[in-house]
């Protein structure tokens, strides 16, 4: 009698324990993530300047936001940056992973070398690349000193190309990380399938094209989700590398949001830009994740 009651409590406890343990972190997430999303959405409809004010102004902030040239620059830049950054990081990451997967000697040494940039903060990456790309002290200067006097590489000082410098630094930083994700995916592929394909006379190209890459689909999804959110929130890299310049040519939504919210006393407009960023990310990610998760079932 008493034994069965004890067992009952135990099973109930076992049932409840995970929920109990998760409850604090769930509550914290609920408050600090979703609570603040809600707070930001509310702020975007107020006339907040230096501090939050609860005078509602309707869609005024959104109208002002879309009338700002700066915001259009930021939107165009994030389009260029995100597509090139995600594209190149994945392509280079996949390539490195496939090469490293050829059972080569010294893989254990090579892998961390490619992975190490990820250990740096974006500020360090940005500063290092800023010096490297600076025509006065970096690559251009060195190559000219070595005798290639006609060599020119002043992208970072040119408003038309500076955004590509940011892509370059960002790709350098993360492609090693993407590589390790793909490498893990490659290692998870059953060798039997590959052998079977080889016996059937598939070429290496066909092997990768038809079997390996499709099997890496989950790795592609993780990489995309991680890279996409890194792209949208990239702030520190831009600040360290170009400071948003020359002029405002490398302004991104994140730098725009920070400067309007915190330095220009236009918190309402800053909040509305944050909401637009959230909606954009949601519009891209939610259908993608939904489709991927649904197919698995």
């Amino acid at each position: 009698m008493s034994g069965s009651a004890q067992a009952d409590i135990r099973t109930r406890l076992q049932e409840w324990l995970p929920k109990l343990v998760l409850a604090p972190s769930f509550a914290v997430t609920l408050f600090f993530v979703y609570g603040f999303i809600l707070f930001t959405i509310l702020l975007s409809f107020t006339g907040s300047k230096m501090l939050p004010l609860w005078t509602f102004v309707g869609w005024k902030n959104y109208r002002s936001l879309w009338a700002l040239d700066n915001w259009h620059t930021a939107i165009a830049n994030i389009g260029v940056f995100a597509s090139l950054y995600i594209g190149f990081s994945m392509a280079i990451g996949l390539m490195l992973a496939i090469f490293l997967d050829q059972k080569i000697r010294g893989e254990g040494m090579l892998r961390p070398i490619y992975l190490y940039p990820m250990a740096l903060s974006f500020i360090v990456t940005g500063t290092a690349w800023k010096w490297f790309l600076d025509p006065g002290i970096g690559l251009e200067h060195i190559l000219q000193q070595w005798g290639w006097t006609s060599f020119q590489f002043g992208w970072i000082k040119d408003g038309r190309y500076a955004i590509y410098c940011i892509v370059l630094a960002a790709v350098w930083q993360t492609s090693g990380f993407v590589m390790s994700m793909f490498l893990a995916g490659l290692r998870g592929i059953d060798n039997e399938i590959l052998k079977a394909a080889q016996i059937d006379g598939a070429s290496t190209w066909q092997l990768y094209r038809r079997i390996v890459i499709p099997l890496l689909r989950p790795a592609f999804m993780s990489a995309f989700v991680i890279l996409a959110h890194l792209a949208v929130k990239s702030y520190d890299l831009v600040i360290a590398l170009t400071g948003g310049g020359p002029g405002r040519d490398t302004e991104l939504p994140a730098t725009f949001m920070y400067s309007y919210t915190f330095t220009r006393n236009q918190m309402g407009i800053g909040a509305s830009s944050a909401v637009i960023m959230l909606m954009t990310v949601a519009a891209i990610m939610v259908p993608y994740i939904y489709a991927e998760l649904k197919e698995k079932k």
């Binding site: 501090l51 000082k157 408003g159 170009t242 400071g243 236009q266």
Partner: protein, 414 residues
């Protein structure tokens, strides 16, 4: 520590009993000269038995400090004294967040010893809410004597002189204008040109009153035309360069001039250069009569309820206004004292000339508040204008187009 407690004891016996007066000072003065300057105030405060809590938030123009302050205010725990610039002081005063030291100011007769220019940003609505440490002049040219000697030219007196110098410097292998291509630096350059080309009246109408007709007028086009001339004098590596690196170019003689506020003097002093023999500090040419663009640094006093903290604020304010502290502070900071009645004979020639010019311009009403430093207009407007200015400086936009864009941006941000 022991001395401190003894001093506190004596002070406590002398006046009403305070348990432990203290002052928490939030600021963004973290570079060598700035920290040394603030040290002069701290020593004075600490010597009177007040505990000094330093709250530095690194980051040049104080943007990060501003964010930190907003957080403190939001949590209902404002620091006692905060370094804030220009219109932000007025905003905080308007929000009712600032206390005051009216009694002390009356006793020490601050009204008589501070120029009107300074009072505009420290005495708000009749209350002394902020205590000024120094005045900076932003419309300055820093010129390399070696570079000017090399081409055998005198320092420019007019904008035409200055523009005519550029090809001569280029021919001699010298960059005419050392420039740090960051948005805020271009905004300071713009205001120097606005005061120089347009004059004090124009400056006030356009950048303080934000009069739309003046903003769209021919004088603004003339200002942008001069900016276009300056745009042609910089080297191609200017974008993104820090201001002190641009100063270093002038110090080394690689470049002839830099247009920058007088905080640049610290760089010259630290490099062991002497005004007059190694470099010249000259106000930008003035086409329409004298003018002086000023930036006031001051510590704003946030309202406190704890009597210890209120006492701390008073001691702090009194220490800043001490003539000896003003001199020591400004020798380290490279600015001029906010008080107009201190003896400047121990300061360098640049500081003396700037102080004399401030006194004259203050009297004539031609001292105008800095626009880039958000004294003349609110941060939102300065931000919007800065976008236009930096876009113009980093492209080949025409002066006419930039004038229209500036007026539109300011109108939209109002």
């Amino acid at each position: 520590m022991r001395h401190l407690s003894i001093a506190a004891l004596i002070l406590g016996l002398a006046g009403p009993a305070f348990a432990n007066p203290s002052v928490e000072v939030m600021h963004f003065w973290t570079s060598g000269g700035e920290a040394a300057a603030l040290g002069a105030v701290r020593d004075k405060v600490v010597s009177q038995g007040v505990t000094w809590t330093d709250e530095p938030v690194a980051g040049g123009g104080g943007d990060q400090a501003k964010t930190a302050l907003q957080t403190r205010i939001a949590s209902g725990n404002p620091p006692a004294a905060v370094l804030i610039l220009g219109q932000n002081i007025l905003d905080w005063a308007e929000a009712g967040m600032l206390g005051n030291v009216d009694a002390l100011a009356a006793a020490q007769n601050w009204d008589a010893v501070l120029p009107q220019a300074v009072k505009d940003f420290t005495k708000v609505g009749g209350h002394w809410v902020s205590v000024p440490t120094n005045v900076h002049r932003t419309d300055m040219i820093w010129a390399s004597k070696a570079a000017f000697d090399k081409i055998g030219a005198p320092y420019p007196k007019t904008w035409e002189d200055l523009n005519a110098l550029a090809p001569k410097f280029r021919a001699a292998g010298i960059i005419p204008l050392a420039h740090g291509g960051q948005a805020w630096q271009e905004a300071y350059m713009f205001e120097a040109v606005a005061a120089g080309v347009g004059g004090a009246d124009f400056y006030r109408k356009a950048l303080v009153d934000l009069d739309d007709a003046t903003l769209r007028g021919p004088q603004m086009v003339a200002v942008f035309k001069e900016m276009a001339a300056l745009r042609g004098m910089v080297d191609k590596n200017a974008p993104g360069r820090d201001w002190n690196l641009a100063s270093a170019m002038v110090i080394k003689g690689d470049a002839a001039m830099q247009i920058m506020g007088d905080w640049a003097k610290g760089e010259f002093t630290n490099a062991g250069k002497k005004p007059g023999t190694d470099y010249a500090c000259i106000p930008v040419p003035k086409a329409k009569g004298d003018a002086f663009v000023y930036l006031v640094n001051s510590f704003s006093l946030f309202a406190q309820t704890d009597p210890d903290k209120i006492k701390g604020q008073e001691v702090f304010a009194s220490a800043i206004m001490d003539p000896a502290v003003q001199i020591a502070f400004n020798k380290a900071k490279g600015a001029i004292p906010a008080r107009s009645d201190v003896d400047l004979s121990s300061m360098d020639a640049c500081a003396q000339a700037t102080a004399a010019s401030l006194a004259a311009n203050d009297k004539a009403g031609t001292a105008v508040p800095t626009f880039a430093g958000t004294h003349a207009a609110k941060a939102a407007i300065v931000g919007a204008a800065t976008d236009v200015i930096t876009t113009f400086f980093n492209s080949d936009e025409t002066p006419e187009a930039a004038t229209a864009a500036l007026a539109d941006a300011i109108a939209a941000a109002k």
